[in-house]
């Protein structure tokens, strides 16, 4: 309980500088996403501020995960997926023809819904990403630093050579976060990172997000509104229309979204009237 209060405190301290002065980490302009002929998401425009946690919330099928996966071109892996519109990072469209999606994913890391460590040792899980990206420094240091960054070091420092599968679900998810930060991304996308975890492990992940946001921009998809209220500085609410196409309803500071929503539909959703 006290931990969650600490979150709130940390967030409020961060909030004043979260004004317009904060530079955008990602700028989404008129994003449409298709799977074959099916339009999954329409006309999403929003700006993710740097070094803040932004949550995407909404009912199932509203396209929040689809939008998230567009932000590091993960949707390119689905053969039928097609993206229109722009996603600007430092003013450059990551969907421009000359941009290599591999480069994009290196700068924008991802943590998935189910913990998915590689079937390798804890050490190797972290070292691999750095190595394929040409890391030449001291690997032991990088591994320690990344594990400390993910608040996992003290629990695993004596068993780095053991299989990552020997860890609990919550530890595996923090290992996946450590693996992501070992590549030194600017932005970390998290797709319902705590939905497969128990409440204690969930709390630790949320705590970790507040720590990471000092250095990274975090964008998280969650179906848990309390979680969004606890960890996110900003919240975007998505909905789905009659043709099952998702769209953005309202976007703003979490305080405002959860206490004074401007849109009736947002209010209905956060007060539990549907979804």
């Amino acid at each position: 309980m006290s931990i969650s209060l600490d979150f709130q405190l940390a967030k409020r301290n961060a909030s004043p500088s979260a004004s317009a002065a904060n530079s955008p980490a990602l700028d989404v302009q008129g994003l449409d996403v298709y799977y074959g002929h099916f339009k999954a998401v329409k006309d999403v425009t929003l700006t993710f501020p740097a070094q803040r946690v932004t949550a995407l919330i909404g009912p199932s099928g509203c396209g929040k995960s689809t939008v998230l996966r567009c932000l590091n071109r993960m949707n390119d892996l689905i053969p039928t997926a097609r993206v229109e519109g722009e996603v600007l990072m430092h003013g450059q469209n990551i969907y421009a023809p000359q941009v290599d999606p591999v480069e994009v994913r290196k700068r924008i890391g991802m943590v998935f819904q189910k913990p998915n460590p590689f079937p390798k040792s804890i050490y190797e899980n972290i070292a691999w990403g750095a190595r394929i990206n040409g890391f030449k420094g001291n690997m032991d240091e990088l591994v320690e630093e990344s594990l400390r960054g993910a608040a996992l070091w003290d629990e695993v420092k004596d068993k780095l050579k053991q299989s990552a599968y020997s860890l609990s679900g919550g530890q595996q998810q923090r290992l996946c976060i450590a693996r992501a930060i070992a590549v030194r991304p600017e932005i970390i996308l998290m797709d319902e990172p705590a939905s497969a975890l128990d409440p204690i492990a969930t709390l630790r992940i949320e705590e970790l997000m507040r720590e990471l946001v000092e250095q990274y921009t975090i964008i998280i998809v969650t179906h848990n509104m309390q979680q969004a209220a606890r960890v996110a500085d900003y919240t975007a609410f998505f909905m789905v229309d009659d043709s099952r196409t998702g769209f953005l309803v309202e976007y703003g500071e979490s305080d405002q979204i959860f206490t004074r929503p401007k849109d009736k539909r947002t209010e209905d959703y956060i007060t539990g009237r549907f979804g």
């Binding site: 590091n72 993960m74 892996l77 053969p79 591999v102 480069e103 994913r105 290196k106 700068r107 890391g109 991802m110 998935f112 189910k114 998915n116 460590p117 590689f118 079937p119 691999w128 990403g129 394929i132 990206n133 299989s163 599968y165 996946c176 693996r179 992501a180 590549v183």
Partner: protein, 305 residues
């Protein structure tokens, strides 16, 4: 306590809740289940009994001929001096060469079909054809080998021609097994690797191939164990039956175990028939060893994730 129970039974309607003997209709249902079980047991027994009869018969006939000379002697007109040496060497050579050809090409094809190819009518056609090829009678492969490798490429009746023919024969099975193993790699692992900025090749090399290796090896070994029992395609390409020397290289003529066994059985003397039985025991031993290895590998690699 009993009083209470009786009261309850009385309340229900004065009868016991569960009858002492089940009613006829229920008994009939149990009987049907029992009959079905017996039929299933009979089915499995038919297979096992025939296998045991075969094994016992072969071992009894061949046991006295399972002696060192069987492995050290070349074929001979005299049963006392006849052995499997050249056939064993031929089988070993053929096995290694076939694996050398079939494994890389089969896996390459499997990787292409699973990882690179776009799903269109052309790849569909390839897929259907691979499935069909796996069912083509082996003698057809023998005729292909005879025309292509023995005559066109001028390899003659060499180990090379035999191994290439066998490689074609087992390749469809290797490809199908390889594809299944590659498909079994969870997409979450691929996504994790892509999410770290890995290229397609890095994902395949570091994750997909190591994780599917167990399945690929298992499929390859099972395919090879089918190949060493094959006789028809090798007879077609002219693998000789009377070879009184060890093959020294891939371009030597050769014979293999099943051909040697077939040859002995076709001779009139009883001794040769018993020799053939001993040969069958050796061949079965090799086959079972290979299959056990495949099962062991599958179990070993599965434990890792």
């Amino acid at each position: 306590m009993t009083n209470d129970a009786r009261t309850l039974a009385d309340q229900i309607g004065g009868e016991q809740l569960f009858a002492n003997s089940p009613d006829q209709q229920l008994q009939r249902r149990h009987h049907i289940g029992r009959i079905f079980e017996i039929l299933a047991i009979t089915a499995i027994l038919i297979g096992i009994v025939f296998l045991i009869v075969l094994l016992v018969d072969v071992v009894v006939n061949g046991l006295s001929w399972l002696r060192p000379q069987l492995f050290t002697e070349f074929p001979s007109r005299f049963p006392d001096r006849a052995g499997l040496r050249s056939a064993l060497f031929g089988t070993a050579w053929l096995l290694v060469l076939t694996a050398l050809f079939a494994f890389p090409v089969g896996i390459g094809a499997a990787i292409y079909l699973e990882e690179y190819s776009r799903k269109n009518w052309f790849t569909q056609l390839i897929e259907i054809n691979i499935a069909n090829l796996a069912g083509v009678p082996s003698i057809i492969y023998g005729l292909l080998g005879l025309g292509l490798f023995v005559r066109q490429l001028g390899l003659g009746r060499s180990l090379m021609a035999g191994a290439l023919t066998m490689a074609l024969l087992v390749m469809p099975v290797v490809i199908v097994a390889g594809r299944e193993a590659i498909r079994a790699v969870p997409s979450s692992i691929r996504e994790a690797a892509y999410g770290l900025g890995a290229t397609h090749w890095q994902v395949i090399w570091a994750h997909v191939l190591p994780m599917s290796l167990g399945g690929i090896l298992t499929g390859t070994i099972l395919a090879l164990s089918r190949a060493i029992g094959e006789t028809a395609p090798l007879i077609t390409i002219g693998a000789l039956t009377f070879i009184a020397f060890d093959p020294r290289g891939p371009f030597d003529i050769f014979t293999v175990l099943p051909i040697q066994i077939f040859n002995w059985i076709s001779l009139p003397q009883q001794e040769f028939h018993d020799l053939a039985a001993a040969g069958i025991v050796v061949l079965l031993f090799i086959l079972l060893s290979m299959n056990s290895l495949a099962i062991y590998l599958r179990g070993r690699f599965q434990q890792r994730w």
